[in-house]
Symmetry: C2
Subunit: 219 residues, 2 copies
Protein backbone atom coordinates (compact mmCIF):
# COMPACT_ATOMS: atom_id res chain seq x y z
CA UNK A 1 0.00 0.00 0.00
CA UNK A 2 1.17 3.53 -0.79
CA UNK A 3 1.18 5.42 2.48
CA UNK A 4 1.98 9.10 3.00
CA UNK A 5 3.58 10.00 6.31
CA UNK A 6 3.51 13.75 6.93
CA UNK A 7 6.11 14.89 9.44
CA UNK A 8 9.72 13.91 10.10
CA UNK A 9 9.64 14.06 13.88
CA UNK A 10 9.93 11.06 16.15
CA UNK A 11 6.32 10.00 15.59
CA UNK A 12 6.51 10.16 11.79
CA UNK A 13 9.85 8.37 11.74
CA UNK A 14 8.67 5.58 14.01
CA UNK A 15 5.48 4.92 12.04
CA UNK A 16 7.20 5.24 8.66
CA UNK A 17 9.98 2.85 9.65
CA UNK A 18 7.54 0.23 10.94
CA UNK A 19 5.48 0.49 7.74
CA UNK A 20 8.60 0.09 5.58
CA UNK A 21 9.47 -3.02 7.59
CA UNK A 22 5.99 -4.35 6.81
CA UNK A 23 6.68 -3.95 3.09
CA UNK A 24 4.56 -0.87 2.35
CA UNK A 25 5.57 1.87 -0.08
CA UNK A 26 6.22 4.88 2.10
CA UNK A 27 6.86 8.53 1.33
CA UNK A 28 7.73 10.84 4.20
CA UNK A 29 6.90 14.51 3.75
CA UNK A 30 8.22 17.71 5.22
CA UNK A 31 8.21 21.41 4.35
CA UNK A 32 11.08 21.01 1.89
CA UNK A 33 11.63 18.24 -0.65
CA UNK A 34 15.03 17.23 0.66
CA UNK A 35 15.03 18.03 4.35
CA UNK A 36 17.93 16.78 6.43
CA UNK A 37 15.49 15.01 8.76
CA UNK A 38 13.93 13.28 5.76
CA UNK A 39 17.33 12.24 4.40
CA UNK A 40 18.34 10.91 7.78
CA UNK A 41 15.19 8.81 7.98
CA UNK A 42 15.76 7.49 4.45
CA UNK A 43 19.28 6.40 5.37
CA UNK A 44 17.96 4.73 8.53
CA UNK A 45 15.72 2.46 6.45
CA UNK A 46 18.44 1.68 3.92
CA UNK A 47 16.84 3.80 1.23
CA UNK A 48 13.66 1.71 1.19
CA UNK A 49 11.30 4.68 0.95
CA UNK A 50 10.90 8.10 -0.55
CA UNK A 51 10.93 11.64 0.78
CA UNK A 52 9.31 14.79 -0.57
CA UNK A 53 7.37 17.91 0.22
CA UNK A 54 4.09 17.70 2.10
CA UNK A 55 2.36 18.12 -1.28
CA UNK A 56 4.44 15.42 -3.05
CA UNK A 57 3.75 13.08 -0.19
CA UNK A 58 0.01 13.71 0.06
CA UNK A 59 -0.30 13.18 -3.70
CA UNK A 60 1.65 9.90 -3.44
CA UNK A 61 -0.33 8.29 -0.64
CA UNK A 62 -3.49 6.25 -0.99
CA UNK A 63 -3.88 7.07 2.69
CA UNK A 64 -2.25 9.76 4.80
CA UNK A 65 -0.77 9.57 8.29
CA UNK A 66 -0.65 13.10 9.67
CA UNK A 67 2.27 13.00 12.10
CA UNK A 68 2.98 16.71 11.94
CA UNK A 69 3.52 18.76 15.07
CA UNK A 70 -0.05 19.37 16.23
CA UNK A 71 0.52 23.04 16.89
CA UNK A 72 1.26 23.48 13.15
CA UNK A 73 -0.79 20.69 11.57
CA UNK A 74 -3.33 22.89 9.84
CA UNK A 75 -0.61 24.90 8.12
CA UNK A 76 1.24 21.72 7.13
CA UNK A 77 -1.96 20.24 5.68
CA UNK A 78 -2.56 23.44 3.71
CA UNK A 79 0.89 22.93 2.23
CA UNK A 80 -0.02 19.31 1.51
CA UNK A 81 -2.94 20.71 -0.45
CA UNK A 82 -6.66 20.00 -0.30
CA UNK A 83 -6.61 18.58 -3.82
CA UNK A 84 -3.92 16.05 -2.89
CA UNK A 85 -5.84 14.98 0.21
CA UNK A 86 -9.36 14.90 -1.25
CA UNK A 87 -11.35 11.74 -0.55
CA UNK A 88 -8.50 10.07 1.31
CA UNK A 89 -8.48 8.67 4.81
CA UNK A 90 -6.24 10.87 6.97
CA UNK A 91 -5.18 9.42 10.30
CA UNK A 92 -4.34 12.35 12.53
CA UNK A 93 -1.85 11.35 15.19
CA UNK A 94 -0.71 14.73 16.53
CA UNK A 95 -1.93 16.77 19.47
CA UNK A 96 -2.00 20.59 19.56
CA UNK A 97 0.65 20.85 22.27
CA UNK A 98 2.38 24.13 23.01
CA UNK A 99 5.80 23.53 24.58
CA UNK A 100 6.85 27.18 24.21
CA UNK A 101 6.34 27.92 27.90
CA UNK A 102 8.11 24.78 29.12
CA UNK A 103 6.83 21.57 30.65
CA UNK A 104 4.18 20.47 31.00
CA UNK A 105 2.79 21.84 27.73
CA UNK A 106 -0.60 23.46 27.30
CA UNK A 107 -2.94 22.92 24.34
CA UNK A 108 -3.27 25.51 21.57
CA UNK A 109 -6.94 24.56 21.20
CA UNK A 110 -9.26 22.70 23.57
CA UNK A 111 -12.56 22.56 25.45
CA UNK A 112 -14.85 24.13 22.84
CA UNK A 113 -12.90 22.95 19.79
CA UNK A 114 -10.09 20.57 18.88
CA UNK A 115 -7.43 20.03 16.25
CA UNK A 116 -9.40 17.07 14.91
CA UNK A 117 -12.47 19.24 14.37
CA UNK A 118 -10.46 22.11 12.91
CA UNK A 119 -8.88 19.70 10.44
CA UNK A 120 -12.20 18.18 9.37
CA UNK A 121 -13.70 21.67 9.08
CA UNK A 122 -10.84 23.01 6.96
CA UNK A 123 -10.75 19.89 4.74
CA UNK A 124 -14.37 18.74 4.47
CA UNK A 125 -13.57 16.27 1.66
CA UNK A 126 -10.96 14.43 3.72
CA UNK A 127 -12.00 11.44 5.83
CA UNK A 128 -10.32 12.47 9.09
CA UNK A 129 -9.86 9.81 11.76
CA UNK A 130 -8.22 10.89 15.01
CA UNK A 131 -6.23 7.95 16.31
CA UNK A 132 -3.03 6.92 18.10
CA UNK A 133 -2.77 10.37 19.75
CA UNK A 134 -3.18 9.00 23.27
CA UNK A 135 -0.03 6.87 23.29
CA UNK A 136 3.70 7.30 22.76
CA UNK A 137 5.01 6.33 19.30
CA UNK A 138 6.80 3.23 20.58
CA UNK A 139 3.49 2.01 21.98
CA UNK A 140 1.65 2.94 18.76
CA UNK A 141 3.65 0.44 16.72
CA UNK A 142 4.09 -2.16 19.44
CA UNK A 143 1.12 -2.22 21.80
CA UNK A 144 2.22 -5.54 23.30
CA UNK A 145 5.27 -3.76 24.73
CA UNK A 146 2.86 -2.54 27.41
CA UNK A 147 1.69 -5.57 29.41
CA UNK A 148 -1.94 -6.33 30.17
CA UNK A 149 -5.08 -4.95 28.65
CA UNK A 150 -5.10 -1.36 27.43
CA UNK A 151 -7.08 0.54 24.85
CA UNK A 152 -6.84 2.93 21.95
CA UNK A 153 -9.43 5.65 21.36
CA UNK A 154 -10.43 6.68 17.84
CA UNK A 155 -13.05 9.05 16.47
CA UNK A 156 -14.19 10.55 13.20
CA UNK A 157 -17.27 11.38 11.16
CA UNK A 158 -16.87 8.61 8.55
CA UNK A 159 -17.82 5.16 9.86
CA UNK A 160 -16.25 3.41 6.87
CA UNK A 161 -12.97 5.25 7.36
CA UNK A 162 -12.92 4.37 11.06
CA UNK A 163 -13.51 0.71 10.29
CA UNK A 164 -10.63 0.76 7.79
CA UNK A 165 -8.34 2.49 10.26
CA UNK A 166 -9.18 0.01 13.01
CA UNK A 167 -8.37 -2.80 10.60
CA UNK A 168 -5.03 -1.27 9.66
CA UNK A 169 -4.06 -0.63 13.27
CA UNK A 170 -4.65 -4.30 13.97
CA UNK A 171 -2.91 -5.52 10.83
CA UNK A 172 0.10 -3.18 10.98
CA UNK A 173 0.78 -2.85 14.68
CA UNK A 174 -1.13 -5.60 16.45
CA UNK A 175 -3.81 -3.56 18.20
CA UNK A 176 -6.52 -6.05 19.17
CA UNK A 177 -9.85 -5.11 17.54
CA UNK A 178 -11.59 -5.28 20.93
CA UNK A 179 -9.07 -2.79 22.33
CA UNK A 180 -9.96 -0.08 19.81
CA UNK A 181 -12.77 2.10 21.18
CA UNK A 182 -14.69 4.22 18.67
CA UNK A 183 -15.88 7.28 20.60
CA UNK A 184 -18.06 8.62 17.80
CA UNK A 185 -17.76 11.70 15.61
CA UNK A 186 -14.73 13.95 15.29
CA UNK A 187 -15.90 16.29 18.09
CA UNK A 188 -14.72 13.56 20.45
CA UNK A 189 -11.19 14.69 19.60
CA UNK A 190 -11.78 17.20 22.39
CA UNK A 191 -11.80 14.29 24.81
CA UNK A 192 -8.75 12.48 23.46
CA UNK A 193 -6.68 15.64 22.91
CA UNK A 194 -7.51 17.04 26.37
CA UNK A 195 -6.43 13.71 27.87
CA UNK A 196 -2.93 14.86 26.92
CA UNK A 197 -3.01 17.31 29.84
CA UNK A 198 -3.09 14.26 32.07
CA UNK A 199 -0.84 12.15 29.86
CA UNK A 200 2.10 14.56 29.99
CA UNK A 201 1.88 14.65 33.80
CA UNK A 202 1.75 10.87 34.04
CA UNK A 203 4.80 10.73 31.76
CA UNK A 204 6.60 12.92 34.30
CA UNK A 205 5.30 10.88 37.25
CA UNK A 206 6.04 7.44 35.79
CA UNK A 207 9.38 8.53 34.30
CA UNK A 208 8.55 6.78 31.04
CA UNK A 209 6.20 7.43 28.12
CA UNK A 210 5.64 3.69 27.76
CA UNK A 211 2.26 3.34 29.40
CA UNK A 212 -1.35 3.28 28.31
CA UNK A 213 -4.80 3.47 29.78
CA UNK A 214 -7.15 0.59 30.40
CA UNK A 215 -10.77 1.17 31.27
CA UNK A 216 -11.90 -1.10 34.06
CA UNK A 217 -15.67 -1.38 33.87
CA UNK A 218 -18.29 -2.12 36.49
CA UNK A 219 -22.02 -2.51 35.89
CA UNK B 1 -14.27 12.32 63.23
CA UNK B 2 -16.18 15.54 62.53
CA UNK B 3 -16.41 15.85 58.76
CA UNK B 4 -17.95 18.72 56.81
CA UNK B 5 -19.55 17.79 53.49
CA UNK B 6 -20.24 20.86 51.37
CA UNK B 7 -22.92 20.27 48.75
CA UNK B 8 -26.20 18.37 48.72
CA UNK B 9 -25.97 16.95 45.22
CA UNK B 10 -25.51 13.29 44.41
CA UNK B 11 -21.79 13.35 45.21
CA UNK B 12 -22.18 15.03 48.58
CA UNK B 13 -25.08 12.75 49.53
CA UNK B 14 -23.22 9.60 48.58
CA UNK B 15 -20.06 10.51 50.49
CA UNK B 16 -21.98 11.83 53.53
CA UNK B 17 -24.12 8.70 53.74
CA UNK B 18 -21.13 6.39 53.54
CA UNK B 19 -19.32 8.38 56.25
CA UNK B 20 -22.39 8.27 58.52
CA UNK B 21 -22.48 4.49 58.04
CA UNK B 22 -18.84 4.38 59.12
CA UNK B 23 -19.76 6.14 62.36
CA UNK B 24 -18.39 9.61 61.67
CA UNK B 25 -20.08 12.82 62.77
CA UNK B 26 -21.25 14.44 59.56
CA UNK B 27 -22.67 17.86 58.77
CA UNK B 28 -23.89 18.53 55.26
CA UNK B 29 -23.86 22.13 54.11
CA UNK B 30 -25.78 24.07 51.51
CA UNK B 31 -26.59 27.70 50.74
CA UNK B 32 -29.40 27.76 53.28
CA UNK B 33 -29.49 26.25 56.77
CA UNK B 34 -32.51 24.09 56.16
CA UNK B 35 -32.51 23.26 52.47
CA UNK B 36 -34.99 20.70 51.23
CA UNK B 37 -32.12 18.68 49.73
CA UNK B 38 -30.38 18.72 53.11
CA UNK B 39 -33.54 17.65 54.93
CA UNK B 40 -34.09 14.86 52.46
CA UNK B 41 -30.55 13.57 53.01
CA UNK B 42 -30.99 13.75 56.78
CA UNK B 43 -34.16 11.66 56.56
CA UNK B 44 -32.38 9.14 54.33
CA UNK B 45 -29.79 8.49 57.07
CA UNK B 46 -32.39 8.26 59.82
CA UNK B 47 -31.43 11.61 61.29
CA UNK B 48 -27.87 10.45 62.05
CA UNK B 49 -26.22 13.67 60.95
CA UNK B 50 -26.62 17.41 60.86
CA UNK B 51 -27.33 19.98 58.19
CA UNK B 52 -26.49 23.67 58.02
CA UNK B 53 -25.21 26.50 55.90
CA UNK B 54 -21.87 26.24 54.14
CA UNK B 55 -20.44 28.40 56.95
CA UNK B 56 -21.98 26.29 59.79
CA UNK B 57 -20.67 23.17 58.13
CA UNK B 58 -17.15 24.43 57.46
CA UNK B 59 -16.92 25.58 61.09
CA UNK B 60 -18.12 22.16 62.30
CA UNK B 61 -15.70 19.99 60.34
CA UNK B 62 -12.20 19.00 61.35
CA UNK B 63 -11.81 18.28 57.66
CA UNK B 64 -13.88 19.45 54.71
CA UNK B 65 -15.12 17.52 51.68
CA UNK B 66 -15.91 20.04 48.97
CA UNK B 67 -18.64 18.32 46.95
CA UNK B 68 -20.13 21.52 45.57
CA UNK B 69 -20.94 21.92 41.90
CA UNK B 70 -17.53 22.72 40.44
CA UNK B 71 -18.84 25.57 38.33
CA UNK B 72 -19.84 27.35 41.57
CA UNK B 73 -17.31 25.99 44.08
CA UNK B 74 -15.36 29.20 44.62
CA UNK B 75 -18.53 31.10 45.46
CA UNK B 76 -19.71 28.30 47.78
CA UNK B 77 -16.34 28.29 49.55
CA UNK B 78 -16.53 32.07 49.99
CA UNK B 79 -19.86 31.50 51.71
CA UNK B 80 -18.24 28.78 53.82
CA UNK B 81 -15.78 31.45 54.90
CA UNK B 82 -11.99 31.57 54.86
CA UNK B 83 -11.90 31.76 58.67
CA UNK B 84 -13.94 28.54 59.00
CA UNK B 85 -11.70 26.73 56.52
CA UNK B 86 -8.32 28.00 57.73
CA UNK B 87 -5.66 25.35 58.31
CA UNK B 88 -8.00 22.49 57.45
CA UNK B 89 -7.58 19.79 54.86
CA UNK B 90 -10.10 20.38 52.08
CA UNK B 91 -10.69 17.47 49.71
CA UNK B 92 -12.03 18.97 46.51
CA UNK B 93 -14.11 16.44 44.62
CA UNK B 94 -15.88 18.64 42.06
CA UNK B 95 -14.99 19.49 38.49
CA UNK B 96 -15.72 22.84 36.82
CA UNK B 97 -18.22 21.39 34.36
CA UNK B 98 -20.58 23.62 32.41
CA UNK B 99 -23.71 21.71 31.40
CA UNK B 100 -25.55 24.87 30.27
CA UNK B 101 -25.02 24.10 26.57
CA UNK B 102 -26.02 20.44 26.86
CA UNK B 103 -24.04 17.23 26.77
CA UNK B 104 -21.18 16.68 26.76
CA UNK B 105 -20.29 19.55 29.10
CA UNK B 106 -17.31 21.86 28.67
CA UNK B 107 -15.06 23.11 31.46
CA UNK B 108 -15.41 26.62 32.88
CA UNK B 109 -11.65 26.72 33.45
CA UNK B 110 -8.88 24.58 31.95
CA UNK B 111 -5.55 24.38 30.15
CA UNK B 112 -3.76 27.35 31.77
CA UNK B 113 -5.56 27.14 35.13
CA UNK B 114 -7.86 24.82 37.08
CA UNK B 115 -10.45 24.87 39.81
CA UNK B 116 -7.98 23.23 42.15
CA UNK B 117 -5.47 26.02 41.61
CA UNK B 118 -8.11 28.74 41.83
CA UNK B 119 -9.25 27.29 45.14
CA UNK B 120 -5.74 27.11 46.60
CA UNK B 121 -5.03 30.64 45.34
CA UNK B 122 -8.20 32.10 46.85
CA UNK B 123 -7.74 30.24 50.14
CA UNK B 124 -3.96 30.10 50.72
CA UNK B 125 -4.36 28.91 54.33
CA UNK B 126 -6.42 25.88 53.35
CA UNK B 127 -4.67 22.57 52.62
CA UNK B 128 -6.38 21.78 49.32
CA UNK B 129 -6.14 18.22 48.02
CA UNK B 130 -7.80 17.47 44.69
CA UNK B 131 -9.06 13.90 44.82
CA UNK B 132 -11.89 11.57 43.77
CA UNK B 133 -12.79 13.89 40.85
CA UNK B 134 -11.94 11.30 38.20
CA UNK B 135 -14.56 8.74 39.22
CA UNK B 136 -18.32 8.56 39.70
CA UNK B 137 -19.55 8.84 43.30
CA UNK B 138 -20.58 5.18 43.51
CA UNK B 139 -17.02 4.23 42.59
CA UNK B 140 -15.58 6.79 45.04
CA UNK B 141 -17.10 5.00 48.04
CA UNK B 142 -16.84 1.46 46.67
CA UNK B 143 -13.83 1.07 44.40
CA UNK B 144 -14.13 -2.72 44.48
CA UNK B 145 -17.41 -2.39 42.55
CA UNK B 146 -15.19 -1.93 39.51
CA UNK B 147 -13.32 -5.17 38.90
CA UNK B 148 -9.57 -5.39 38.37
CA UNK B 149 -6.87 -2.88 39.04
CA UNK B 150 -7.67 0.80 38.64
CA UNK B 151 -6.25 3.98 40.08
CA UNK B 152 -7.12 7.26 41.75
CA UNK B 153 -5.20 10.46 41.04
CA UNK B 154 -4.61 13.03 43.75
CA UNK B 155 -2.62 16.26 43.91
CA UNK B 156 -1.99 19.19 46.21
CA UNK B 157 0.74 21.42 47.56
CA UNK B 158 0.81 19.98 51.10
CA UNK B 159 2.53 16.59 51.32
CA UNK B 160 1.22 15.94 54.81
CA UNK B 161 -2.35 16.66 53.77
CA UNK B 162 -2.03 14.34 50.78
CA UNK B 163 -0.72 11.55 52.98
CA UNK B 164 -3.66 12.02 55.35
CA UNK B 165 -6.15 12.04 52.48
CA UNK B 166 -4.65 8.89 50.97
CA UNK B 167 -4.97 7.22 54.37
CA UNK B 168 -8.60 8.27 54.76
CA UNK B 169 -9.51 7.12 51.25
CA UNK B 170 -8.12 3.70 52.12
CA UNK B 171 -9.72 3.57 55.54
CA UNK B 172 -13.13 4.92 54.58
CA UNK B 173 -13.70 3.54 51.11
CA UNK B 174 -11.15 0.78 50.57
CA UNK B 175 -8.89 2.43 48.01
CA UNK B 176 -5.68 0.41 48.02
CA UNK B 177 -2.70 2.61 48.95
CA UNK B 178 -0.81 1.42 45.87
CA UNK B 179 -3.74 2.50 43.69
CA UNK B 180 -3.54 6.13 44.80
CA UNK B 181 -1.21 8.10 42.52
CA UNK B 182 0.10 11.43 43.83
CA UNK B 183 0.71 13.58 40.74
CA UNK B 184 2.41 16.39 42.64
CA UNK B 185 1.37 19.96 43.36
CA UNK B 186 -2.07 21.46 42.86
CA UNK B 187 -1.30 22.60 39.30
CA UNK B 188 -1.77 18.95 38.34
CA UNK B 189 -5.49 19.57 38.82
CA UNK B 190 -5.32 20.74 35.21
CA UNK B 191 -4.58 17.17 34.21
CA UNK B 192 -7.22 15.48 36.32
CA UNK B 193 -9.94 18.06 35.62
CA UNK B 194 -9.26 18.05 31.85
CA UNK B 195 -9.56 14.25 31.92
CA UNK B 196 -13.25 14.92 32.46
CA UNK B 197 -13.56 15.90 28.80
CA UNK B 198 -12.73 12.29 28.02
CA UNK B 199 -14.58 10.85 31.03
CA UNK B 200 -17.96 12.31 30.04
CA UNK B 201 -17.58 10.87 26.53
CA UNK B 202 -16.65 7.44 27.88
CA UNK B 203 -19.70 7.62 30.13
CA UNK B 204 -21.81 8.11 27.01
CA UNK B 205 -19.97 5.37 25.12
CA UNK B 206 -20.04 2.77 27.90
CA UNK B 207 -23.59 3.65 28.97
CA UNK B 208 -22.55 3.62 32.61
CA UNK B 209 -20.52 5.90 34.89
CA UNK B 210 -19.20 2.86 36.73
CA UNK B 211 -15.75 2.59 35.22
CA UNK B 212 -12.28 3.76 36.08
CA UNK B 213 -8.86 4.04 34.51
CA UNK B 214 -5.95 1.74 35.03
CA UNK B 215 -2.49 2.66 33.83
CA UNK B 216 -0.78 -0.26 32.17
CA UNK B 217 2.94 0.36 32.28
CA UNK B 218 5.80 -0.83 30.10
CA UNK B 219 9.49 -0.11 30.64
Amino acid sequence: MKIAVLGTGMVGNTLATKLVQLGHQIMVGSRTANSSAGQEWLRSVGGKGQIGTFADTAAFGEIVLDCTNGANSIEALRQAGAANLRGKVLIQVGNPLDFSKGMPPTLTVCNTDSLGEQTQHEFPDVRVVKALNTVNCDVMVNPSSVPGEHELLICGNDAGAKAQVAGWLSEWFGWKPESIIDLGDISNSRGTEMFLALWVRLWGKFGTPHFNIHFARGK
